[in-house]
C-alpha cells in the first residue's frame, strides 16, 4: 500500500541537519543545454551534478513548480519553466504529486536560494539534489521557449561546457521520445488502495468504488475522488478489462501519463470492453486512450500544451474554462464513431479537449481537472463523473 502522506525520508534529514547548506557552497558550475537543432543555451548547474537528456518541453505556469516536477507525465522530458523565478515559496513533501521527481532535468532562469512561505519548505537546489535530478539555472529560458515554439519539441542534452561540442553527436544516438514506453516506468507496478490523510485519517471507506488505471497519475486525482466519498483502488496500466470488472467498480478512471498514446494498445482494448458497461472518466493520456478506443486517431502537437492558462470551450454551454494542461499529443476527431462526440475544444488551436458519448456514461478530457498545479475551475468534471456513477448505480 502506498499513500499520499508518505514522504521521502531523505527530506527529513535535509531539513534538520543543514547538509544542504554545505552542498550549496562552492563555485557555480557552468553547463549548457544543447538542442537537436544545434542551439546552445548556457547556465549553471543546480541540484544533482550530472548530465541529462530527454525531450525538452516548456510550461508557462507561474506557480506550481513542485507539482510539475513530480507529475509523471513529464517522464522522459526535461522541463523548461518560462516563469523566471522558481523556488520562491520553497518545496515541501506534502505538495508532491507522485512519489518522486519525474522530470529528467529542470531548466530555469533563476532558482531561489532563500524561499519563504508560512508552511515552510526547502530550496529547489536541495530538492533536486535529494531527488538526484540535475538542474540548469541562469538560462535565458525565454530564448529556449521561443526556439521550441518555432522549431517544435526537440531532444536535448545538459552537459558541462567542455562537452558542448560533442553533444551534437551524442544527441543523434539517443532513442526517440516516441519509441519509449514511459508508462511502464511510472505506472504503478502493483494494485493499491488510496488513503488520504486530509480526508479521513487512515480510512479507505467510501460510498462509491472507483477503479483507477494508474498510468502515471497525480495524487490530486485520487484526492478529488476521496473528497467525493469514493473508495479508490489503483491498478497497474496493463490490467485487463476483465480484471477491472471483476472488482465490480462503480466507475473507472483512466489516469494521465507520459508518452505516445499509440503505444497504449492494451489500454485501448480494455476501454473498448469497458465502454457502456461502467461509467468511464479519462484524463489526458486516459482521454487519448478513450479517443482511440472510440475510433479516433492521435497525433503529436508541434510543442504541446503545457501551462495553467489554456482556455477550453465546453460546447454544450458555450462557456469557456481556464484549464491546466500538460500534453504533447492530441486526439484527431476524424474517425470517431458510433455516438462519440467532441464535448470540449481548445480555444487557441481548436484541438479536441473533451469527448462525450450519446449512449455511454463518459467524461473524457484532455486537460487536468484535478489542477495541482493550475486553476480550480474544472473540479466540476469529477462531479459530473460521479453523477454518472450514481446514475448507473440507480438504474
Amino acid at each position: 500500500m502506498r499513500s499520499g502522506n508518505e514522504s521521502r525520508s531523505s527530506f527529513d534529514g535535509l531539513r534538520t541537519n543543514g547538509a544542504v547548506e554545505e552542498a550549496q557552497l562552492g563555485e557555480r558550475q557552468p553547463a549548457a543545454l544543447v538542442l537537436e537543432d544545434g542551439s546552445v543555451f548556457r547556465g549553471h548547474r543546480i541540484g544533482h551534478f550530472g548530465d541529462a537528456w530527454g525531450e525538452v518541453v516548456f510550461n508557462t505556469s507561474m506557480t506550481g513548480y513542485q507539482e510539475m516536477l513530480t507529475d509523471p507525465s513529464y517522464a522522459g522530458q526535461m522541463l523548461v519553466l518560462t516563469y523566471p523565478l522558481i523556488g520562491n515559496y520553497g518545496l515541501d513533501p506534502p505538495v508532491d504529486e507522485s512519489a518522486q521527481i519525474q522530470v529528467r532535468a529542470l531548466i530555469v532562469r533563476s532558482d531561489c536560494d532563500r524561499p519563504s512561505h508560512p508552511l515552510g519548505g526547502i530550496t529547489l537546489h536541495e530538492y533536486l539534489l535529494a531527488g538526484a535530478v540535475p538542474g540548469l539555472a541562469g538560462v535565458d529560458t525565454r530564448a529556449v521557449t521561443r526556439r521550441i515554439r518555432s522549431r517544435g519539441v526537440m531532444q536535448g542534452l545538459i552537459v558541462s561546457e567542455e562537452e558542448v561540442e560533442r553533444a551534437q553527436a551524442r544527441l543523434a544516438d539517443l532513442p526517440s521520445y516516441e519509441s519509449q514506453d514511459f508508462v511502464a516506468e511510472v505506472g504503478t507496478p502493483a494494485p493499491y488502495e488510496w488513503e488520504d490523510a486530509a480526508v479521513a485519517q487512515g480510512s479507505t471507506e467510501g460510498a462509491h468504488h472507483i477503479v483507477v488505471l494508474d498510468e502515471g497519475l497525480k495524487y490530486n486525482i485520487l484526492r478529488h475522488l476521496r473528497r467525493r466519498d469514493c473508495r479508490v483502488t489503483c491498478l497497474p496500466p496493463q490490467t485487463t478489462a476483465e480484471e477491472v470488472l471483476a472488482l465490480a467498480p462503480d466507475g473507472v478512471l483512466l489516469s494521465p501519463g507520459p508518452g505516445d498514446p499509440a503505444l497504449r494498445e492494451v489500454q485501448v482494448k480494455g476501454v473498448e470492453r469497458l465502454l457502456g458497461r461502467v461509467p468511464l472518466m479519462g484524463i489526458c493520456l486516459g482521454h487519448q486512450v478513450i479517443g482511440r478506443a472510440l475510433g479516433a486517431g492521435t497525433f503529436k502537437l508541434k510543442f504541446g500544451h503545457r501551462g495553467g492558462n489554456h482556455p477550453v470551450r465546453e460546447l454544450a454551454s458555450g462557456r469557456v474554462y481556464i484549464t491546466a494542461q500538460n500534453h504533447g499529443y492530441a486526439v484527431d476527431p476524424e474517425g470517431l464513431r458510433g455516438g462519440a462526440e467532441v464535448s470540449h475544444v481548445n480555444l487557441h488551436d481548436g484541438t479536441v479537449e473533451g469527448l462525450t458519448h450519446r449512449d455511454y456514461p463518459l467524461v473524457s478530457i484532455q486537460y487536468h481537472s484535478e489542477a495541482a498545479p493550475g486553476p480550480l475551475d474544472n473540479g466540476y468534471l469529477f462531479d459530473r463523473f460521479l453523477e454518472l456513477v450514481r446514475g448507473a448505480k440507480g438504474g
Partner: protein
C-alpha cells in the same frame, strides 16, 4: 444583452491622489472599443488634459463639470441608450448611482451597461458587501458597519482595539485609518463619517501585517470568468495598495494559495453579477514566525489551506487594473467596454497575439514592480507616514526577469533625489521605528547593510522575508562592487541585478561614462524582450519591450524612418497628465507624417504606454543610460560605429522636464535631437545666458540675479528691493520657491533652497505683483504661431499651475496684446526654437503705463498645451512635430503671430488633493501644489467661471456662512467681496482684523479667535463643526503669520470646506455666486469652438 447604439461614457475628472491618469487610459480604450463595435460614443469629462477628450477619440465630447445636473442635461440632449460608468473611477461610479437614484436613467430609458447598479451597491456599500460575502461563504474580517459615532462605540465593544476604520463610497482610503486608542478611534470615525458620501464607515478588526494580494477579474455575459493577473503588495496590509510597492505576479504564494484566492475572486465576481472587470483585494496569512496570526485567523478545513479574508472589491476599472493591463499586455478597459457592448470574452480578439482571444489568462515570464511616486519632495513639511489613506500622486513600473532588477529600474524611474537604492538618509534615529514612510525602501536597504538578519527585520516591518532576501542580494552585490575589481563577470552579474552604470561607478570608484564604455567594450549590453501575454507560447505582434541582461534580443531594429519620443514618467505635482497628452500626440503626429514612433516611458497609468499608441514601446526608466541603450539598440550597427544606418533622432519637447533634461547628455553622446537643440535649451534655462539674451533684445525681466550663496542673495535683494522671489534654477513646478519680504526671511529661504539643489545657482528676483499671463507658441525659425494668450485670475506670485487661467485673455488691451506677440516672436526667433515654447509674463500697469516682464521661457511643451489645443482648435503638438520634421508653419497653413481667438471663454482651474496630505500648508504661492485641473468653457466669462468652480468643487451656494480672515495687504481688495456676501445674506465669521474692517464698513461679523488657546469657538471649531460653508484665508508674508493661518487652512482641507487663500480667487468665486450659479450652457466642445470671436469681443465677454 443587446448591443447599445449610443453610449455615454463618464470620465473621472481632474487628477487627484487616488485617481490619476489611469482613467484617461481606461476611457480612451473604451471609446476606441465602442468605435470598433460600431457604437456611437458620447464622452463627458471635466479634465481637458486628457487624450479621451481629444478630437477623434469619442464621437461627441463634452468638457463639462461632472455633476448630476450637467450629466442629466447631456443625457436629455444626446439621448444615449447606454451608460458606461465603470471606466470613470469612483467619480463615474458614484454619478451612475446618483443618476439612477434621481430617476434620470429611467426617465430617458438609459441602460446601465456592464456592471448593474445592484452590483455597484453590493460592492460599495460596506454592509451589503458583508452580507453578500457571508452568503457565498467567503471570509471577511469581523466588523460592523456604522452610521454614527454612537453605533461606532457599540461596534468597538464587539471588534476590540486595534481596529481599522474604512468609509464607504470613497477612494484612496479617504477618511480611514487605524485606531489603537479610544481617542484615535473617535477622531477617525468622525472624519470617516464626514468623508463618506453615504455617511457610513466600517469598524473592522485590524489585519495589520497580513499579506495584501489583489486579483484583476473579468466576467462576460455568458458567465465566463478569468483572472488577468494577481499582484502582491511588498508592503503588507495596513499600507494602502496605492502606496505600496507592488509586484506582479505574486512571489510568495504557492500554487495552492494562488488558486484558492483566484477561486475566491471568481466566486465573488459571479456573486456580484459584474459584467466587465473588477478588482478583488484579499488578505492572506503571513509567515507565523513573522507575525503570529493564529488569534486573528482560523484555518478552515485543511491545515495547508492558509486563512484569508476578502478586504474589498472595486466593481470597476481601477488603478490596479491599469497596472495589470500594462503588466500583462491584457487591455482590461478595452475588454470591459466590449463586454458592456454585449461581446463575450471569447469573441474579443487578443490584439497582442492576433490569434488568441480575451478568454484566457496571461502568463508572465518576467517580474513587474510598481513603486508609488509621492509628493514629499515638494511637501517636506507633510506627514510622510503611510497608512490606509493613499498619498502617492503617481507611480512607476518596471519589468525585468528578476525582482531585484525590476525594483532597481523602478527606483531609477521615480526620478527622486538619489535616484538609486544607494542613497541613505543622514539620520541617527532608527527610521523604521516610526512606521513606514515614502522612504521605506531606502530604510530597509540601510537596515540590511547594518544587519543582514532578514527575519528580525521582517518582524519589525511585516515585509515578507522573501523580499528582504532580495534586497540583501543587492546589499551583497554592493559589497562586492565596493571591494572587488570590476571584471566582466562581476559587471554582468550586477547588471543582471539591475544596477545602473552610475551606481556601479559610485561603488567601484569610477565614473559613469567609463563604466558604460567598459561595459560596451566587454559586450555587455541589454537585450529587449517582449511583453506578449503568453510567455512566448505564441508569436506576438505588438512590439512592447523591456530591457534585461540575457542572451536573445527580440527588438531588432527596423529600416524605417523613425524617432524616439521620451515620455514624462510618473505623475507628480508639476509634471502631470498634460505631458502624457503631449507625448501621445507627438507619437500620433510622427505616424501621420509617415514616421514610425518609438515611445519610452515608465508610467503604467498612461495612454502613452498603451500598446497601440506607438509603433514600438520601451517600458524603461527615463534616464540617460536607458535612453542611450534604447538608441543604440535602434541602430543596426551593433557597436554604435559610424557605419550602417543613421542614428535615430529623439524628441524631448513633450515629456516635461524629465525629457528636456536629457538634451545635454544625449547631445554629448552624439545622439541627434529633433526640435530645439541642447544649446537652445541651455540658453533658455541658464539664468545668466538668458538674461543677457533678453537684454540684447531689449525685453525686460524682473530685476534680479543668480547667486551662489546667502550673502550675495541679500546683496541682490537690497539692490532690487523687497519683496523678492527666491528659487533654484533648473527645477519644475516652482520647487523650493518662496517670496521673501525682508533679509531675515530671505536668508532662511535661501539656505533651504541651496540645500535642495546644491550645485545649481539660486535666482533672486524682484517680486512683481502684477497680472500674470502665459503664452504657448510654435516656432519654425521664420514664423512664430501663438495659438492663444491666457490670463491668470490670481496675480503673479501664485504658480501658473495653481492659477485659474482664462482664454482668451479678458483684460489685455489691444496694445498689450501687440507687445506680447512682438515679444514672443522675438524670443522664439532669437532663441531659434524649433517646435514648442511657453512664456510666462507679468503685466505691470502703473499710472496708465503698461509694461511687460518675462518671468520665464520653457523651451518645451507646457502644462497648458492640451487646454489651449482644445479651446483654440490648433493641434499644437502636431504642428510642432511637423516643424521638427521640416515642414514650416506656413506650409502647414498656419499664420505668423496670434491665432484668431474663438468665440468662447475657457477657464482652466487647478484641483488640489490637500485632504490626503496631512501637515501640508495649502496656501497658494509660487511653489506648485495642485495635482490636476478642470476646465469651464462657455460663451461668457461668468458662465465659464461658474463651471470652472463647479468642476473644481469651489462653487458657493447662494446662502450660507463664511469665515473670513484676510491679510492686511488684501483688505482693500476684499471690500467688494465682503459687501457682496453681506448683501447675499451670508452670516460672516471673521478674525479680529477682518471683523474690524467690516465694522468700519458698517457690516456685522461674529468674531472668532485665531489663536486656538483663546477660547471657543475658535476658527478651527467653526470649520470642524460644519458651521461655515467656506473660508477665505489669505496669508501675509512671514513665517509666524503663515503659522497662524495654517490651522485654519488644514482644518478646512480635512473637513473638505472650500478655502480660498488668494484674494483674487475668492473675489471671483463670490462674484460668480452673486451672478447666479445656474446660468450656463451644456454643449459639446465642438459647439463652443466652432466660431471665431468677432474682433474686440474678447474684452467684452467679461461684462
Amino acid at each position: 444583452m443587446p448591443k447599445p447604439e449610443k453610449v455615454l461614457i463618464i470620465g473621472s475628472g481632474p487628477i487627484v491622489i487616488g485617481q490619476a491618469a489611469e482613467f484617461d487610459y481606461a476611457g480612451t480604450q473604451a471609446c476606441k472599443a465602442m468605435r470598433e463595435e460600431g457604437v456611437t460614443s458620447v464622452l463627458v469629462n471635466s479634465n481637458p488634459a486628457t487624450i479621451m477628450t481629444d478630437e477623434g477619440v469619442a464621437d461627441v465630447v463634452y468638457i463639462e463639470p461632472l455633476t448630476l445636473d450637467v450629466i442629466s442635461r447631456i443625457i436629455e440632449r444626446e439621448r444615449p441608450d447606454g451608460l458606461l460608468a465603470t471606466l470613470g473611477g469612483q467619480v463615474g461610479l458614484n454619478l451612475a448611482v446618483e443618476l439612477h437614484d434621481a430617476g434620470v436613467l429611467d426617465r430617458f430609458g438609459v441602460r446601465l451597461l456592464g456592471t448593474p447598479l445592484e452590483a455597484i451597491r453590493k460592492a460599495e456599500d460596506r454592509e451589503l458587501f458583508r452580507t453578500t460575502m457571508q452568503e457565498i461563504d467567503e471570509p471577511i474580517p469581523p466588523s460592523r458597519t456604522v452610521a454614527s459615532l454612537d453605533e461606532a462605540w457599540t461596534a468597538l465593544e464587539e471588534v476590540g482595539l486595534p481596529v481599522v476604520i474604512r468609509p464607504a463610497y470613497t477612494l484612496g482610503g479617504t477618511g480611514g485609518g487605524f485606531a489603537h486608542t479610544r481617542e484615535e478611534f473617535e477622531r477617525i470615525v468622525r472624519g470617516g463619517l464626514a468623508a463618506s458620501p453615504a455617511q457610513q464607515v466600517l469598524v473592522e478588526q485590524s489585519l495589520l501585517g497580513w499579506k495584501e494580494v489583489e486579483y484583476e477579474v473579468m466576467r462576460d455575459g455568458a458567465d465566463t470568468c478569468i483572472t488577468v493577473c494577481n499582484m502582491e503588495n511588498v508592503d503588507a496590509m495596513g499600507i494602502h495598495t496605492g502606496d505600496s510597492i507592488v509586484v506582479a505576479p505574486s512571489q510568495t504564494l504557492s500554487d495552492r494559495d494562488y488558486q484558492r484566492l483566484r477561486q475566491a475572486s471568481l466566486k465573488i465576481i459571479r456573486a456580484l453579477g459584474i459584467e466587465g472587470g473588477c478588482n478583488v483585494q484579499l488578505a492572506l496569512a503571513p509567515r507565523p514566525d513573522v507575525l503570529d496570526w493564529r488569534a486573528a485567523g482560523e484555518t478552515r478545513g485543511d491545515e495547508r489551506d492558509l486563512p484569508y479574508y476578502v478586504i474589498e472589491v472595486n466593481p470597476r476599472v481601477s488603478r490596479s487594473s491599469a497596472l495589470a493591463s500594462k503588466a500583462t499586455g491584457y487591455p482590461i478597459a478595452r475588454v470591459a467596454a466590449k463586454i458592456a457592448a454585449g461581446k463575450r470574452l471569447d469573441e474579443i480578439q487578443n490584439q497582442v497575439t492576433g490569434k488568441t482571444t480575451a478568454a484566457f489568462e496571461p502568463a508572465l515570464d518576467y517580474v513587474v514592480v510598481k513603486v508609488p511616486r509621492w509628493p514629499f519632495d515638494k511637501f517636506g513639511a507633510g506627514d510622510r507616514t503611510l497608512g490606509t489613506q493613499m498619498k502617492a500622486t503617481g507611480e512607476v513600473m518596471a519589468i525585468d526577469r528578476t525582482f531585484e532588477a525590476a525594483l532597481q529600474k523602478a527606483v531609477r524611474s521615480m526620478e527622486v533625489e538619489g535616484s538609486s537604492l544607494l542613497w541613505e538618509e543622514r539620520e541617527e534615529a532608527d527610521p523604521l521605528a516610526a512606521g513606514a514612510t515614502d522612504n521605506r525602501i531606502w530604510h530597509l536597504m540601510a537596515a540590511l547593510r547594518r544587519d543582514p538578519d532578514t527575519l528580525s527585520l521582517a518582524r519589525r516591518t511585516a515585509v515578507d522575508p522573501w523580499f528582504l532576501e532580495r534586497l540583501l542580494t543587492l546589499v551583497r552585490m554592493e559589497t562586492r562592487l565596493l571591494s572587488e575589481r570590476l571584471s566582466p563577470g562581476l559587471l554582468r552579474e550586477s547588471k543582471r541585478l539591475g544596477f545602473s552604470d552610475e551606481q556601479i561607478a559610485n561603488l567601484a570608484g569610477s565614473v559613469t561614462e567609463k563604466v558604460r564604455q567598459q561595459r560596451l567594450s566587454w559586450g555587455i549590453r541589454p537585450v529587449y524582450k517582449m511583453v506578449d501575454t503568453c510567455a512566448a507560447e505564441f508569436d506576438a505582434v505588438t512590439p512592447y519591450f523591456y530591457s534585461t541582461y540575457e542572451e536573445e534580443n527580440e527588438a531588432l531594429p527596423e529600416a524605417t524612418s523613425r524617432a524616439l519620443v521620451i515620455g514624462s514618467g510618473p505623475i507628480r505635482i508639476g509634471q502631470g497628465i498634460e505631458f502624457d497628452y503631449a507625448s501621445v500626440k507627438a507619437a500620433q503626429a510622427l505616424q501621420a507624417a509617415g514616421y514610425a514612433a518609438i515611445m519610452a516611458n515608465s508610467n503604467p497609468e498612461t495612454v502613452s504606454t498603451d500598446f497601440d499608441t506607438s509603433d514600438r514601446l520601451y517600458f524603461e526608466p527615463l534616464d540617460e543610460e536607458a535612453a542611450r541603450d534604447i538608441l543604440d539598440n535602434e541602430r543596426p550597427a551593433p557597436n554604435g560605429g559610424p557605419e550602417g544606418m543613421e542614428r535615430v533622432p529623439t524628441i524631448l519637447q513633450f515629456g516635461g522636464q524629465t525629457a528636456i533634461n536629457l538634451a545635454g547628455p544625449l547631445t554629448l553622446a552624439a545622439q541627434p535631437i529633433m526640435g530645439s537643440s541642447a544649446e537652445v535649451i541651455d540658453l533658455a534655462e541658464d539664468r545668466e545666458r538668458f538674461e543677457r539674451f533678453l537684454t540684447e533684445l531689449g525685453i525686460p525681466q524682473p530685476p534680479g540675479a543668480a547667486v551662489g550663496n546667502v550673502e550675495d542673495a541679500i546683496q541682490v535683494a537690497e539692490t532690487v528691493g523687497y519683496p523678492v522671489l527666491v528659487r533654484p534654477s533648473y527645477v519644475l513646478g516652482g520647487r523650493a520657491m518662496e517670496i521673501a519680504q525682508g533679509p531675515g526671511e530671505l536668508a532662511r529661504y535661501a539656505s533651504i533652497a541651496l540645500e535642495a539643489a546644491p550645485d545649481k545657482p539660486l535666482l533672486i528676483d524682484k517680486y512683481l505683483a502684477g497680472l500674470e499671463i502665459e503664452v504657448d507658441a510654435i516656432c519654425d525659425g521664420e514664423r512664430v504661431l501663438i495659438p492663444g494668450i491666457m490670463e491668470h485670475i490670481e496675480r503673479a506670485g501664485v504658480h501658473s499651475g495653481d492659477s485659474m487661467a482664462v482664454y482668451p485673455a479678458p483684460s489685455l488691451t489691444p496694445a498689450e496684446i501687440e507687445t506680447v506677440i512682438d515679444s514672443a516672436r522675438q524670443i522664439g526667433l532669437g532663441l531659434q526654437i524649433r517646435g514648442l515654447m511657453n512664456i510666462q509674463y507679468v503685466v505691470m500697469r502703473e499710472a496708465g503705463e503698461s509694461s511687460l516682464f518675462v518671468l520665464e521661457v520653457n523651451p518645451r511643451a507646457s502644462r497648458t498645451v492640451p487646454f489651449l489645443s482644445k479651446v483654440t482648435t490648433v493641434p499644437m503638438v502636431q504642428v510642432a512635430v511637423n516643424v521638427m520634421l521640416g515642414r514650416s508653419i506656413a506650409a502647414q497653413g498656419y499664420p505668423d503671430g496670434l491665432w484668431p481667438a474663438r468665440d468662447l471663454v475657457a477657464i482652466k482651474a487647478p484641483v488640489f488633493s490637500m485632504a490626503k496630505l496631512v501637515g501640508v500648508d495649502t496656501y497658494l504661492g509660487p511653489e506648485m501644489k495642485s495635482t490636476g485641473e478642470v476646465m469651464g468653457i462657455d460663451r461668457t466669462f461668468d458662465s465659464a467661471l461658474t463651471k470652472a468652480l463647479l468642476a473644481s468643487e469651489l462653487a458657493l451656494s447662494a446662502h450660507g456662512t463664511a469665515l473670513l480672515s484676510i491679510a492686511d495687504q488684501d483688505k482693500a481688495d476684499a471690500i467688494p467681496m465682503i459687501r457682496n456676501l453681506s448683501a447675499a445674506g451670508y452670516t460672516i465669521y471673521a478674525t479680529e482684523g477682518t471683523a474690524e474692517l467690516m465694522r468700519g464698513l458698517g457690516l456685522e461679523a461674529i468674531v472668532v479667535p485665531k489663536r486656538l488657546s483663546a477660547g471657543h469657538p475658535n476658527v478651527v471649531d467653526v470649520i470642524e463643526d460644519g458651521t461655515v460653508d467656506f473660508v477665505v484665508n489669505t496669508p501675509e508674508g512671514g513665517r509666524s503669520t503663515l503659522r497662524d493661518g495654517f490651522h485654519i487652512r488644514r482644518a478646512a482641507s480635512e473637513h473638505r470646506t472650500p478655502c480660498f487663500t488668494s484674494i483674487d480667487t475668492a473675489l471671483h468665486a463670490v462674484g460668480a455666486m452673486v451672478s447666479g450659479n445656474d446660468r450656463y450652457s451644456v454643449l459639446p466642445l465642438s459647439e463652443y469652438t466652432r466660431r471665431v470671436a468677432p474682433v474686440g469681443d474678447a474684452a467684452e465677454a467679461r461684462s
